[in-house]
């Protein structure tokens, strides 16, 4: 049996992020004191600032439009236009999937953090689903779906624990707000794992089992899972999906 104190502790297991250094927006993270004490604008911050002016077409595309699932071999599918900070497509124009993601890499001042994502959740502008391996675009959320994700992220918390479930689909999700992007990997049915150094990784621990610096699980509820299931179908084999329910005769 559990003690009252242990229950109380568990009630605290989910909390709103109050991590020191959590930022109010992605762009804000681009400004940090340099060694000279003067603020500097990182290359990523510059890209983010420039990108603000190019948001409109992307939003217009999303508004009222059905989310798109890019199907390899489908001639009607077109590659997505490049996002801010992402190079234009270099491949064959007939390529049916999006360009590989070129977002945050180790050593860049990009704040690919759970804290940054939650801090800017209310201003979420776009959500895209990328293949975890190829980093190519698979799905772009509609405005309505972005709004649902905005609500989910606004209410989301950072967990004190890590979800012990492999990714249900081999995808990452790219969120854009305040002109910057954060990439996370859905884990289980209710969490998004954000890794500052390796955005396209579901790992939370080093080979020795120690938590990787900065990796966080955001407790999202089932909104993202539901939207992904709608677009991608039931979880793939690596998640080992439900067997047939077979409710007959009961």
């Amino acid at each position: 049996m559990q003690s009252e104190s242990s229950r109380a502790h568990q009630d605290l297991a989910l909390r709103r992020s109050t991590v020191p250094g959590a930022v109010s927006s992605f762009a804000a993270t681009a400004h940090r004191p340099t060694d000279t004490g003067r603020p500097r604008l990182s290359p990523w911050g510059c890209l983010a600032a420039i990108a603000l002016t190019s948001l409109a077409p992307s939003c217009a595309r999303s508004s009222g439009e059905q989310s798109r699932v890019d199907v390899p071999g489908d001639p009607s599918a077109r590659p997505a236009p490049p996002l801010p900070g992402e190079p234009p497509h270099a491949g064959d124009p007939a390529e049916t999937t999006g360009a590989p993601d070129e977002t945050p890499r180790t050593g860049q001042d990009t704040a690919n953090t759970a804290e940054a994502l939650l801090a800017s959740a209310a201003r979420l502008e776009a959500v895209e689903v990328l293949d975890l391996d190829t980093r190519r675009l698979r799905v772009t959320f509609t405005a309505e779906q972005v709004e649902a994700m905005r609500d989910a992220l606004t209410a989301a918390t950072i967990q004190e624990s890590f979800v012990n479930t492999p990714p249900p689909w081999s995808v990452a999700v790219r969120f854009r707000a305040d002109g910057a992007t954060v990439v996370g990997v859905p884990v289980g049915e209710r969490a998004l794992r954000v890794n500052p150094r390796e955005p396209f990784s579901a790992a939370w621990a080093s080979p020795s089992g120690e938590p990787l610096p900065g990796v966080r699980d955001i407790a999202l509820g089932e909104t993202l899972y539901d939207l992904l299931a709608e677009k991608l179908g039931p979880p793939s084999q690596e998640y080992r999906p439900a067997r047939p329910l077979n409710l007959n005769g009961l």
Binding site: S6, D11, S161, F162, N164, G209, A242, L250
Partner: protein, 430 residues
């Protein structure tokens, strides 16, 4: 002056135990202890080369116990010592005896105190192929908790039944390294009895996303759940009713623990031999406990103590099940139909049908349910529909099911099925 190693065994009431044999083993060579008048089971160390050995003790109705010892030459002569941490269950002392000036001896006496019968705990740590966790840490924390009689799995200190004593052998099958390691409690930390590679090669731990790697894991002669079953089966044959706990820390699903995430060949998954275990498969499957796949399941059952418990600590995060529960929990009564969106489309059910589905079909057909029937013990697992989380409390590492996140679901399990969670949020499947 000669040096002798003398071995004495007793149980925890002080009654003498009579070993069938005691041997000093190194590789394939061994030196047997003999009964020396007035001295007991003894071995003359004069002919023993310095080095690392196993002192293998065999007692009736117990498995061999291989204490890790060494022999070295000191100023006073040869002596024996424990390698690594000294076991808490053993005392080592030296005494000089003399039968005249030419016959004085130094006796290095190892006195081992065991339980009345053998007791063992078997732990399994799966390879966390996607998250990077070292699941052996969770197993070792649980080992320490079972010795201490307290746990922090709830987030704060909670008393639990003390299962591991100084004489309890704790065995860990680590699917990341491929090693089976056994310990006795040490005077500090743990005394490692042995560490043995299962199969002929370690687990191939390259990226789980590459099909060729998955195939290699399948094809390799590396650690498998069958090694674990075989170990328990031998335990049942040698030391019946000795297994107090069997805990598996890994990813999991309804069909069982995912230990290295191997696929079954089609023949064994959906083909003509789908009821048989795929010999290359390394993961646990709910079909493992049939007469075909476990011919010696009587010995498997015999291994477990009457109060033995097994537990699969990993997830059972199947969304369809969770939605059925939430629908039933929120329905006005058990007979009013409601609609649930599932991976098979929308289904109309009632609370009663959901309850019956879980009780009659789902719970008994899971890996936990099947093991419970085969072993005749209570087997715990994550409640269907719920995922497991990982957390650290100081230097301790725990898997648990978050009872805050799943409050509504836990309420349904209690009200509809009478199932209440243990301290880590897992429920009994029997």
């Amino acid at each position: 002056m000669t040096d002798w190693c003398v071995f004495v065994a007793k149980d925890d009431t002080g009654a003498a135990l009579a070993p069938t044999s005691v041997e000093l083993r190194q590789g394939t060579s061994s030196h047997a202890f003999g009964d020396v008048a007035g001295q007991g089971l003894s071995l003359d160390l004069g002919a023993i080369a310095p080095g690392a050995y196993s002192l293998v003790v065999t007692l009736p109705n117990r498995p061999e116990l291989p204490l890790a010892v060494g022999v070295k030459t000191a100023k006073t002569g040869k002596l024996v010592y424990f390698r690594g941490r000294s076991p808490a269950a053993a005392a080592l002392s030296s005494q000089s005896v003399s039968a005249g000036p030419a016959k004085s001896r130094t006796l290095h006496v190892i006195e081992l105190t065991l339980g009345k019968s053998h007791e063992e705990v078997v732990l399994v740590a799966g390879w966390d192929y996607s998250g990077g966790a070292n699941n052996a840490l969770y197993a070792k924390t649980w080992r320490d908790d079972l010795y201490a009689g307290e746990t922090h799995v709830t987030g704060s200190k909670t008393t639990i039944t003390r299962v591991v004593h100084d004489f309890t052998v704790v065995t860990l099958f680590d699917f990341k390294t491929g090693l089976r390691t056994r310990w006795l409690k040490g005077r500090s930390d743990w005394h490692e009895l042995d560490s043995v590679l299962q199969g002929t090669v370690p687990t191939h731990t390259a990226s789980y996303k590459t099909p060729a790697n998955t195939q290699k894991r399948h094809d390799d002669d590396s650690i498998s759940i069958v090694h674990v079953y075989d170990y328990i089966i031998e335990l049942g044959a040698t030391a019946p009713r000795s297994l107090k706990r069997f805990d598996i820390f890994s990813h999991a699903w309804a069909g069982g623990p995912i230990l290295v995430n191997t696929d079954q060949d089609e023949e064994f998954s959906t083909g003509a031999r789908h009821t048989e275990r795929d010999p290359g498969d390394k993961d646990g499957r709910d079909k493992d406990f049939t007469a075909t796949n476990m011919p010696r399941r009587a010995d498997f059952r015999k291994a477990f103590a009457s109060d033995g418990v097994a537990k699969v600590w990993g997830c059972f995060a199947t969304t369809d099940y969770r939605r059925l529960i939430r629908g039933a929990a929120q329905a006005p009564d058990e007979t009013t139909p409601f609609t649930v969106r599932t991976s098979e489309g929308e289904v109309e059910v009632t609370g009663e049908r959901v309850k019956n589905f879980f009780r009659v079909r789902l719970l008994p057909e899971t890996y936990m349910g099947q093991m419970a029937m085969a072993a005749g013990i209570t087997v715990y697992g994550a409640p269907p529909g719920m995922g497991a989380d990982l957390r650290a409390v100081g230097k301790k590492n725990y898997m648990f099911v978050n009872q805050s996140v799943y409050r509504l679901e836990y309420g349904w399990y209690k009200d509809a099925l009478g199932l209440e969670p243990d301290e880590s949020g897992h429920i009994p499947f029997r």
